[in-house]
């Protein structure tokens, strides 16, 4: 795979525009061979993989934007889509956090350092962080939904001077279900980040909030003034968190989420991740609520 025809003149004969973004060059179905560098057991069913592209030149030149996804292959099992959750400034590896759910994720969970995988990336659009400059940003991550939040949050924290207050509400079922547990203390101590953690039910020794994310969010009462809310999590959490955000006065243009669908090609052809005329793999995965309200309700 040849890398990165940046903003390859998109859209061709399409009647609507696809926003510019880094794209893989060459055969878009050809994965880049990569090697597993490290496997981190995050929770009972979540593992984080750090992988390095085998072609050193490709690794050095690999560019992506926070929120873009990749297709991770285990040869013989298949490939699935995950967000690249390391921030773009990280040049040493690409990080994917994977919850075990089906065949491919089970195969990914069996990987060890040194194993060969394939990576097709970067795919999809990214968080429109340029438009957020000068604004406050309130992140809400639920469970494995913290993965995409992590990449954009770390990116913003690296460029804190461009943004107002940055807040995070990260919730999981229990402390044991919280990925990135080894980073949480750093986030809580970070003076640039207002970090709140919550779990669904009381747990012995837990010193943070207890309650479902939408309820804790309502309790925190973030002001919608000059603020963008960015959320990701399971469908049920998204549904109720959107309601909570709207009640708090966030306008649909200022609510941003990143979606998941079953995907195969990742380049807008194979036909299964569409919502109406839009394809999550090409037009998304990042959408504002305002954009989603324009599309048919088929999430």
């Amino acid at each position: 795979m040849v890398l990165h025809s940046q903003n390859a003149s998109a859209t061709g004969g399409m009647l609507r525009e696809i926003s510019p973004r880094p794209l893989p060059g060459g055969n878009p179905y050809q994965p880049m061979p990569a090697t597993v560098l490290e496997v981190i057991q995050e929770t009972g069913n979540i593992k984080t993989l750090r992988v390095v592209l085998d072609d050193a030149e490709a690794m050095k030149n690999f560019r992506y934007e926070p929120g873009q996804v990749g297709q991770l292959s285990v040869f013989g099992a298949g490939e699935s889509t995950f967000v690249i959750n390391s921030p773009p400034s990280c040049k040493d590896y690409l990080q994917f956090s994977v919850m075990q759910a089906g065949e491919v994720t089970a195969a990914i969970h069996r990987l060890n350092p040194g194993d060969k995988v394939g990576v097709r990336a970067p795919l999809g659009n990214y968080f429109p962080y340029e438009q957020w400059k000068g604004k406050n940003v309130f992140f809400v991550g639920g469970g494995i939904g913290m993965a995409p939040i992590r990449t954009i949050m770390l990116h913003l924290l690296e460029n804190k001077k461009d943004y107002g207050k940055i807040s995070l509400l990260y919730g999981a079922r229990s402390p044991r279900d919280m990925a990135y547990s080894y980073e949480l203390q750093g986030w809580l101590d970070n003076p640039d980040l207002d970090c709140t953690l919550c779990i669904d039910n009381p747990f012995e020794g837990w010193q943070h909030k207890v309650g479902l994310i939408p309820n804790v969010l309502t309790e925190l009462q973030p002001s919608p003034d000059n603020t963008v809310a960015v959320l990701c999590g399971p469908p049920i959490m998204i549904k109720f968190t959107l309601q909570a955000l709207e009640k708090l006065g966030f306008a649909p243009e200022n609510i941003v989420t990143t979606l998941e669908k079953r995907m195969k090609c990742g380049i807008g052809i194979c036909g299964r991740c569409n919502i109406g005329s839009h394809y999550v793999c090409v037009d998304g995965p990042v959408f504002t609520l305002a954009q989603l309200q324009e599309l048919p309700p088929e999430l």
């Binding site: 004969g13 009647l15 794209l23 179905y29 994720t105 048919p296």
Partner: protein, 351 residues
Amino acid sequence: MSIIRFVNTDGLPAFLAYLSKDARVLAPVEKPADKKSVVFEEWTQGKPFTLEKATVPAKEAVLPQCETLLTYKRDKDPEDPSRVSLKLDDTPQAVPTVVFACRPCDARGYVTLDRPYLQGPMVDPYYKARREQLTVLTLTCPRGCSTCFCHWVGGGPSSPEGSDVLMTEVEGGIVLQGLTPRGDALLEGSGLEDGAARFPDAEAARKAAWATLNKAPDLKEAPAKVAARFTDADFWEKETDRCLSCGACTYFCPTCYCFNITDEGDGYQKPGRRLRTWDNCMSPLFTREASGHNPRTARALRMRNRVSHKFATYPENWGAFSCNGCGRCISNCPVCLDIRAIVLDAVKTES
């Protein structure tokens, strides 16, 4: 003036032999006589063929039911089994291909497929390799039939779209008309006799075919009307009530292009291949996520997606219907669902 040639009915095998000199020729072939199905198969010298409309579309010329996207081979280092080497090969397998005697709806199918495969944000290299080596010789339809409706959706029995050569049956043989430089070159090298004198007969036959068609309803409003139906659950329930979700409509469709990608073999002892296969949006597995979440759980929701794609969302993206009116989904549906009726109901009745 384009190149016009004429071939006697008796001369067709020789013409096919000429076509197959440098290319794979896919021609309509009758399968076991009692069933009367006609499929496109590679023609070889002496093989019987037919000029009947094929039961299946001609899309396999560019989109095979199954193709290898890449092969992978993994080897363990005998000195250190934790070290694995990986070899990938994605060499395209396209060969020059001539499609002989498909119908205008099939030829327009290639134009429908070209848009997402060649004109989207990313070009599909496998499709491109096949498409660039494809020559399409289309036989105009002598008459309309009860299931087809090409003239409702921008086509017609002699529509030239997607064809390199347009062939029309006349008394004693076939008139061949070049439509593209590729088609012209092919006719010029064929050694067939000049057909200019018979061209008026061909034109008359084409005109006669048009005269057999029923009056086409106006479908200008269809994209907006079908889209507006999206949330009308009762409409889709009622229209698709008897659908079995078998997917025959998708496999017989010249414009259905969804596919799946799966791996076969581990690449160690067994050769590893990543395959692309036709997929079927009527299957509940099509959109089911590993978590179990599925945005299209019900048959009605899946048929809604199929009809909306053809008549609302593809037109929204590309400015044309992705249904060419071939009617194969109608004639092959085990429960006689008729996409025409669904679209007409969506357009006619008030939501």
